[in-house]
Symmetry: C2
Subunit: 417 residues, 2 copies
């Protein structure tokens, strides 16, 4: 007997038929002799419909009232899923976030979990019940209903798994698991059997939208064993854990990309102490996220540097830099917006020199130039022109041996919805 | 400055346009310098839609899960209404039942209010906010979400008005107030300016579905001044209070009817101790509500008695009586189903003998016979054939002087929706 936390997203419970299927899946697990705690999101489009209604009434609704409104979506889900399980002859009990003991700070719409007091959940499990918990929500010290913001339900599942010391936290989603790269881009992308938290974190941050980075961080911090798998089939998923087994000779686990990249360069900045702090402080104050920052050396008292940001932020970033010109003299600003970032991720690369060099070689082999480079211990990212994305990812997938992973690792490419 | 509790039902907030109108109404009151606590029901058909979904998943959903599901309806209403008020530039804050301090027992789907701890509501009022409270719901000692059952939002409003010592509890509905009788039956029905709790209770029980009897009882017990008025116009409503002013010479305040009446008679019952207890105990065990009970004297060791019940319960009641035949010998059972009950209600009749006699006279004047009679201090009810209902109500309305109430009392007859 194991204690499972099973998390189902909004599309998995999009209508009553799907909800029945999820209920059946949970009951199967229960009938195998396991204990089940389930975390669910709001059904399909519920959240969007509620937001639409709110917009008809108030242009800028207070975040507190928005949380009050949106948390009903998950409450409806948990009640209905509990009923569906009762309909299959099993005992289930649903809890809102506050009933399940999720204590958060009072930052409405993006609250942080401060503590979980899962006594009611534990008691219900001990009584043989299947427990259904509303994802994405909690309660502040002041008794206000809060939401955890983006990726909230994943985080709910992982945090609850840690709090009740579950054996496994299964994230059911609409893909089979974590792939070596996006199967829409590379047909022979392979499903990974295991991946480490750090690799998953890099992939999550880099746009493989299966798991929210915050949830992965929480899992890493609390050493929660995650499994990412499909809610539509029984295929084995991908295990995310600290000491993921690496296949012989594999140094790169996956290739991720981010299609939303712009580069901005500031040339001929008159060198003075604190110029980087001035520039990036001003950008941060304007709410602009900066990703890669590259500074070349100072020549003749002038410095050049570049950074990447999201395409949507490009125009605002340029405006911020214009505003700085008086205090921070520079020669010119140049920029490009039709860029992508391609990244190779692998815990193995630390001990394998030459991994980055191979990447540069493969990219130049496709005949395009690299605009920016960024590296971490387990990642190399290159910013390139976006018209060669597919060629580059395919070539990297082959070059790092990902096309031919052992059969045991393999899951077929599949449609994402 | 007065402290108002304003209750709006589901049809008053049926869509976002209506919700805006309600918000405007509340803001008007606030701008007149008053403090406003608002109780709302779920929007229009929300509750029915949720029930429909639940039925697709489970034939007999647990009441606890049903409460978890249905309370989201009011939570959506309060959040949206609060936003609508913000949209008009006023500060509002919404509370669920448990946040507003409604403590109930744990009888899911028909919980009773045990206590109200309205500190958060009071604090918000003191801070100048408009407070929006979800009707129909509370929380048990065990932290379970409960619903108050039928008439729940009226009861929420009245109970909250008592707890925060509001000056007035306004019940906004789709009619202008309490009428001397149903305007659909008698065109010259008049809106009453005032009515006592006891009269209102009788009318409420007798099928004038504007206010739930439970809410009226709560108001009487806590001496809460109620006003029933329309959410669609600014007409003065009807005040319900202990010492309602009676108009000169008016002994009957209103005429109510109940169209859903069947009579069952048991003839030739062998007299023995406890026969009534046996019969009505068995009916109660079968969940059959009995209204009027009439026993004629015992003759030759045999008794006859009759009772009235809802038409829907007629067949089951007959079956219960058949089942009793072995232990309680009787000659025969007769019954009629095409009946109605007409009632005159008025606090004044206590001190005016002959009120009942006049009723009998009026009814016999229409050429039909009275099947059963029941009286209380402020009410006389007669069961008659249903094909004469309109004639009888119209004649009684005239006979008791209700056609010609002073102008000040009068509101025009209007469409009910």
């Amino acid at each position: 007997m194991a204690l499972f936390v099973m998390k189902f997203g909004g599309s998995s419970v999009g209508d009553t038929e799907r909800m029945k299927r999820v209920a059946k899946r949970i009951v199967e697990k229960k009938e195998e002799g396991h204990q089940c705690v389930v975390v669910v999101s709001a059904m399909g489009d519920t959240t969007d419909e509620l937001i639409d209604k709110s917009k008809l009434l108030c242009e800028a609704p207070p975040a507190r009232e928005m949380d009050m409104l949106l948390t009903t979506g998950e409450q409806i889900s948990v009640a209905l899923l509990s009923m569906a399980i009762h309909g299959l002859g099993h005992e289930a009990v649903s809890f809102t976030g506050w009933q399940a003991g999720f204590k958060t700070d009072d930052t409405h719409s993006k609250a942080r979990i401060l503590d979980i007091q899962p006594e009611r959940v534990k008691r219900a499990i001990d009584n043989g019940r299947i427990v259904i918990v509303a994802g994405f929500q909690g309660m502040s010290d002041q008794g206000e209903i809060t939401t955890l913001g983006r990726g909230g339900s994943d985080t709910t599942a992982v945090a609850l798994a840690a709090a009740i010391e579950a054996d496994v936290c299964e994230i059911y989603t609409d893909v089979d698991g974590i792939y070596s790269t996006d199967p829409r881009i590379v047909r022979c992308a392979r499903k990974l059997k295991e991946i480490s938290y750090d690799e998953m974190l890099e992939l999550a941050h880099l746009g493989a939208a299966v798991l929210h980075p915050r949830a992965v961080e929480y899992a890493k911090h609390n050493n929660v064993c995650l499994v990412v798998r499909s809610s539509f089939n029984h295929n084995e998923g991908t295990v995310v854990k600290e000491d993921a087994v690496m296949e012989q000779g594999v140094v790169v686990s996956g290739i991720a990309y981010d299609k939303n990249v712009a580069r901005i360069s500031i040339l001929g900045v008159v060198d003075q102490p604190g110029i980087l702090a001035t520039v990036f402080g001003a950008l941060a104050d304007a709410g602009i996220d900066v990703d890669i920052i590259v500074q070349s050396g100072v020549m003749d008292g002038e410095a050049d540097f570049s950074f990447s940001t999201a395409r949507d932020d490009h125009d605002r970033a340029i405006a911020v830099l214009e505003g700085l010109r008086a205090t921070l003299p520079y020669r010119e600003v140049t920029s490009e917006v039709d860029l992508v970032k391609v990244s190779i991720v692998g815990a193995g690369m630390v001990s394998h020199p030459g991994v980055a060099a191979k990447m540069f070689e493969v990219i130049s082999g496709t005949g395009i130039s690299i605009k920016m480079v960024s590296t971490s211990e387990i990642k190399v990212s290159c910013v390139i022109a976006d018209n060669k994305l597919q060629d580059v990812v395919t070539a990297l997938h082959t070059a790092y041996g990902l096309d031919t992973l052992e059969q045991a690792y393999v899951g077929g490419p599949q449609d994402r919805r």
